[in-house]
């Protein structure tokens, strides 16, 4: 369980100090799929980066099963990320000079995961494992990023607009992969999007505006990636 209490985050200092997160509190359960929905600039990415231990917070607390991030040293945070989290971004950020297989190895090595073939098969890229990122389509590249994250066996998977750079067809495909894998493997999934349709696939929707949570809705009518509008 992730317990987030009174989280605040500022950017800049002095006159230009800007409150990117303003007293955010929420609790996220294990195995839950949560979407963070909000307009551009509402603080979604900041929220994700802070609760995943990539950026420092200025106030409040983030606790994973009682383990609090704010007290961790830089070394402990690295260890925390290594053991618990994985990340997928809108820009895939694959390593351009390494093959698909070796990109996936980047995640797998951290979990001492020797056999990466099942993960590659799960995202349908076993055939293309000797290709380089530049030789793949956008959707395929994003699936490599997914495989890289999954190979790490994360407890919590963070996604920042994972379908933002994809067209409708590939976007649905990638989203569908994610949702099915999450249901099967039962990790916690926290996804940022500004698309209200995509939010309909989640267990719970957290709405953000100007650095604040303005609404949390249980999504009783959970849809699949192929049932939503785009």
């Amino acid at each position: 369980m992730i317990e987030i209490k009174n989280l605040t985050k500022y950017y800049g200092r002095g006159e230009s100090r800007f409150k990117a997160l303003d007293d955010v509190s929420v609790r996220i359960n294990d195995g839950e799929f949560v979407v963070i929905l909000g307009a551009s600039g509402s603080g979604k990415s900041t929220f994700l980066n802070v609760i995943s231990g990539l950026e420092a917070m200025d106030g409040g607390s983030v606790a994973y099963d009682g383990q609090t991030l704010e007290r961790m040293s830089e070394k402990e945070l690295t260890k925390f990320r290594r053991e618990n989290t994985a990340y997928i971004f809108q820009q895939y950020y694959l390593l351009p000079h390494l093959t698909v297989e070796k990109n996936v190895r980047m995640g797998a090595d951290l979990a001492h995961n020797k056999d990466i073939l099942p993960v590659l098969e799960a995202v349908g890229l076993a055939e293309k494992r000797r290709k380089f990122p530049a030789e793949l389509s956008g959707g395929e590249q994003q699936r490599v990023a997914i495989a890289r994250a999954l190979a790490k066996n994360p407890r919590v998977l963070f996604l920042d607009e994972p379908t933002g750079a994809l067209d409708e067809k590939t976007g649905r495909l990638v989203l569908d992969y994610m949702i099915n894998l999450q249901a099967k493997q039962d990790f916690t999934m926290i996804m940022v999007t500004h698309n209200a349709n995509i939010a309909q696939t989640a267990d719970r929707i957290i709405k953000m505006n100007s650095g604040k949570i303005v609404g949390i809705t249980e999504n009783a009518d959970k849809k699949t990636a192929y049932e939503i509008g785009w």
Binding site: E55, R82, Y93, L95, H97, L98, T99, M106, D109, A134
Partner: protein, 378 residues
């Protein structure tokens, strides 16, 4: 024109390199010409022998240091141009798509000649600052009549103007070659085949894979790192021997040049490696790799090159001084015996280990930060 004068400022490595080369060459060549002018005044065999030895030294030093540094400058120039084209491939691709010819784009690279020019002119002026003391020391024993410094304009042409023009032309020529590729490749920034290996059978760990791909990606940097260690090793050891063989000033000059060259090339190489792998390192950090592991995968691959460079430098300086003492100064009396100086070599090695590993460690520490925002805005 996409290459601006500001870009030529970034080539300070080239300026420093040429500055060192021109300082040394102008000192010795100016001396050589002034010496040649008084050939008639030498009246006894002892002076004649010393005179000949000094003439020879001037030629050897110029050829060796000038040649070495000129060659390295060419390599560095090529590296900069390639790097520039790689990192601006999109803009260049757009220009080509708009119908700019290769020559029209390549022409802009001639401003890189400015870096050569500025280095040369500074070196030229610097050599005149050092010259009075240099002349005095060269003739400390008074075997040769005192020589007055005269300014030789032909040296200005050969050491300043000509190199600037030549390097401008080389820059244009080389960039023409590099630009000669389909503009789609430039637009897409299609990564060159080098740096890539499809070999998937090996069971190396990710960090090891990353290490070899970083090495393969920028082979020129292997040369730079080796060269940096070479300069450090050769020049510092040589400067220690020079104190006995020639003069304190010579020793000091060589020491300074060695240290400056070593640090400049190392700085250029390491910052380039780190910048071009920034995104990969950031992703590794995001996934929970420690900064030490990131450092290992990005920087440690160059360590063998550094130590090999050091060894070559030691051998090189020994061979050079051996030749100087045995051939150039053969028969000149009062030249101290020369042997390989093991204590100095060991001290230099120790200093090298401390400095090199220390710098690498410091760069590794800088990988603690995760500049997510920075890579995202790129």
């Amino acid at each position: 024109m996409i290459v601006s004068i500001k870009d030529s400022v970034k080539l300070f490595g080239i300026s420093i390199m040429t500055c060192c080369a021109v300082t040394v060459c102008n000192l010795f060549l100016n001396y050589y010409l002034d010496l040649a002018a008084i050939a008639d005044l030498i009246d006894n065999p002892v002076s004649q022998m010393l005179y000949d030895a000094q003439m020879m030294t001037a030629k050897v030093v110029c050829a060796v240091s000038g040649g070495c540094l000129a060659a390295t400058t060419v390599v560095m120039l090529f590296f900069y141009i390639k790097h520039y084209i790689d990192s601006h491939s999109r803009e260049i691709g757009i220009l080509k798509a708009l119908g700019y010819s290769d020559f029209k784009i390549a022409r802009g690279f001639s401003v890189f000649g400015l870096s050569v020019f500025s280095g040369c002119i500074i070196g030229y002026l610097l050599s005149f600052v050092l010259m009075p003391r240099f002349y005095e020391l060269q003739n400390a024993d008074d075997y040769i009549p005192d020589i007055a410094i005269s300014i030789h304009w032909e040296l200005f042409v050969f050491l300043v103007l000509l190199p600037a023009v030549a390097f401008s032309l080389i820059a244009v020529g080389y960039s023409m070659i590099k630009l000669n590729q389909p503009c789609v490749n430039l637009l897409k920034g299609v990564a060159k085949e080098q740096g890539k290996s499809r070999d998937g059978r090996d069971k190396k760990s990710f960090v090891e894979d990353m290490k070899s791909s970083v090495l393969r990606g920028r082979k020129t940097l292997i040369f730079f790192i080796a060269f940096s260690a070479f300069c450090f090793s050769a020049m510092i050891q040589m400067s220690a021997s020079m104190k006995d063989l020639a003069s304190e000033m010579m020793g000091f000059m060589i020491f300074i040049i060695g240290v400056v060259l070593a640090f400049t090339t190392l700085y250029i190489a390491v910052t380039t490696v780190i910048r071009s792998n920034q995104q990969s390192v950031t992703m590794m950090r995001v996934f929970g790799y420690e900064s030490a592991e990131c450092k290992r995968s990005v920087l440690d691959g160059y360590r063998p090159a550094a130590y090999i460079g050091f060894v070559i430098g030691s051998v090189y300086q020994y061979a050079l001084l051996r030749i100087m003492v045995d051939i150039v100064f053969a028969g000149v009396e009062g030249v101290p015996a020369y042997e390989f100086d093991f204590p100095v070599c060991l001290i230099t090695l120790a200093a090298f280990i401390v400095v090199y590993e220390g710098i690498m460690f410091a760069y590794g520490q800088s990988m603690k930060e995760i500049p997510l925002k920075q890579i995202m805005s790129e």
